[in-house]
């Protein structure tokens, strides 16, 4: 039985369909990614999972329980880190955790112990008595995450947990998320960092305009849909374009740059560089970002 089962989920705001029939399932112990451009409907989907946003249609089951019947019980077993900070600015760092535990009816002594563990886990112990108002953005994000774990949830739902973090904090969070996964905690994650999704997610979906474009394991998806590697050619001339036209491969022009998607091996790469010289060519492995851009296009979202 999956931990989270989302079935034909739908939500409209007036004439705008934010979530347009999304179906996926997250298995126990899995880290599942929800990717998509701005406005794709990720946050709306997540908000429906904890009953913040009422859904228009579809079925939602968590832990095998129906959200319409057992919302309270479901909510006591999940932890949510919202996209926007919702820390209590009137309270200190530690109080934010201890106070939040009360909403889950966790006894005071247990809550305090749990809070101290989490402060330690997220390297916040030295800031325990600071007011939340004075924390930097990155520290706030870490505290949001710590707070999402205060009830020892079986499923944590993280809406862009690493947005706005410096590389150090991001590395720390990745490590912590990996540790959570080892503890058997199921994770649903949204992120705009493709590298993060590649590293952390066992499976993921890419959504756009409220619809799922693709689902699967990141490495496999990239291999199947983009290829092995990408050859980037800076400032290509007519000769290069001519040669490429004869080859059987996908070519994309980005202003003054050319991207050549190579299916397997470096055979084509060797042949091309022999003819062109390697001066302006860079070969790199195909990435999730390539897949993401291929599926969702390169236009900015409004």
């Amino acid at each position: 039985m999956p931990i989270l089962q989302v079935d034909s989920l739908r939500k409209s705001y007036g004439s705008l369909t934010a979530v347009d029939g999304i179906t996926f399932a997250v298995e126990k112990g899995e880290c599942y990614g929800l990717l998509g451009p701005n406005g794709a409907g990720k946050t709306t989907t997540i908000r429906m999972l904890y009953g913040y946003t009422p859904r228009d249609a579809g079925r939602l089951q968590l832990f095998g329980l129906d959200i319409d019947e057992q919302l309270r019980q479901i909510k006591s077993r999940i932890g949510v880190c919202q996209q926007e900070d919702s820390l209590d600015p009137d309270l200190s760092v530690r109080q934010n955790l201890v106070g939040f535990a009360r909403y889950f009816s966790i006894p005071q002594t247990v809550a305090e112990q749990r809070a101290d563990e989490l402060l330690q886990f997220f390297a916040l112990t030295s800031r325990a008595s600071d007011n939340v108002r004075v924390l930097s953005g990155g520290l706030k994000r870490r505290l949001m995450l710590a707070r999402a774990l205060v009830n020892a949830p079986e499923l944590v739902i993280l809406d862009e947990p690493t947005t706005g973090l410096d590389p150090q904090s991001r590395q720390l969070l990745w490590q912590k998320l990996a540790e959570l996964k080892e503890q058997g905690i199921t994770i649903l994650l949204t992120t705009h960092y493709m590298e993060e999704a590649e590293r952390l997610c066992d499976r993921l979906v890419i959504v756009d305009h409220g619809q799922i474009l693709v689902e699967g394991e990141p490495a496999k998806l990239v291999r199947e849909q983009v290829g092995q590697s990408v050859l980037e050619i800076a400032a290509p001339d007519a000769e290069i374009l001519d040669i490429l036209k004869k080859e059987d491969c996908r070519v994309e022009t980005l202003g003054k740059r050319l991207l050549v998607y190579l299916q397997d091996g470096d055979e084509l790469f060797l042949r091309l560089t022999r003819q062109l010289g390697t001066a302006n060519c860079t070969l790199r492995p195909a990435s999730l970002e390539d897949l993401f851009l291929k599926l969702t296009g390169r236009e900015l979202r409004e």
Binding site: S86, F100, S105
Partner: protein, 263 residues
């Protein structure tokens, strides 16, 4: 206007109350000052300054100094202010700027419990103000006991009424500046024309009738009647008015907030 049915409400609403109470307790030194000092200012201004001009006058067969007349009204006004400002500005900040309700909705609490917790907290602030102000006023011998003890339940009842009124405003205003409107159209007229600073009988007939529609009029009547032992049958009607007002506005406030926040 279609309103959602209420979800079941449990003891969990007290957790929200508790959060607000603890923050209040942390700042109690500052929070306690206004309710303690305010009556002193009024007693000084009215008792020393204005009372000379007004002198003593007769009310329900008793001779009262002007200071004694307005002292209970000061408490009634404090009940209104404390609850109303808590569930307007403070609740709005928590809802809109601090996203507190967003965070709480991811816990076993439902929105109905969160809003009820806020309303109960608003009424509690009225109660705290009443205890502090009432205590201070009693030091000057301006209240009669045991009648003045009734101010405790009256503070809670009045507090709930004005907390609900405030919360309805919070559910309807587009932004925090808009609270000026209900204050200008509702709170300030009530402050002036609810029998607070002069007996309603001084008003023309039509205005007296209008004043009877205002909740503060009835709260002032109850508080003054109790604190000065000026009992009258009309107090039962005032009590009934406030009970009905609370019974109607509390669920309405919760429903309007649910409609505002969940969409």
């Amino acid at each position: 206007m279609k309103l959602p049915p209420l979800a079941p409400i449990s003891f969990r609403c007290l957790r929200v109350w508790q959060r607000n109470f603890e923050i209040y307790r942390q700042n109690w030194k500052i929070s306690f000052v206004p309710p303690l000092l305010e009556p002193l200012l009024y007693i000084l201004a009215f008792g020393v300054g204005l009372a000379v001009m007004v002198g003593e006058f007769e009310l329900q067969g008793r001779t009262l100094s002007y200071t004694r007349f307005i002292a209970p009204a000061l408490v009634a006004v404090a009940i209104m202010y404390n609850a109303f400002f808590e569930t307007t500005y403070n609740s709005f900040v928590r809802m809109y700027y601090q996203k507190t309700f967003d965070a709480l909705l991811a816990t076993p609490l439902n929105l109905e419990e969160i809003i009820l917790g806020e309303l109960l907290w608003g009424a509690t602030k009225s109660l705290i103000a009443t205890l502090l102000m009432g205590g201070m006023i009693s030091l000057f011998g301006l209240f009669d006991y045991p009648g003045a003890l009734l101010l405790i339940p009256l503070a809670l009842l009045g507090g709930l009424c004005f907390a609900a009124f405030g919360m309805i405003c919070t559910a309807l205003v587009p932004g925090i500046e808009t609270f000026n409107l209900p204050i200008f159209l509702g709170i300030t007229p009530m402050f002036l024309f609810s029998g607070t600073f002069f007996p309603l009988q001084n008003l023309p007939g039509w205005a007296q009738g209008l004043a009877q529609l205002l909740p503060l009029t009835h709260l002032v009547a109850l508080v003054r009647g109790s604190a000065l032992h000026l009992w009258s049958g009309g107090m039962w009607l005032s009590l009934l008015y406030l009970l009905v007002f609370a019974a109607l506005l509390l669920p309405l406030a919760i429903k309007l907030m649910v409609r505002r926040i969940l969409h």
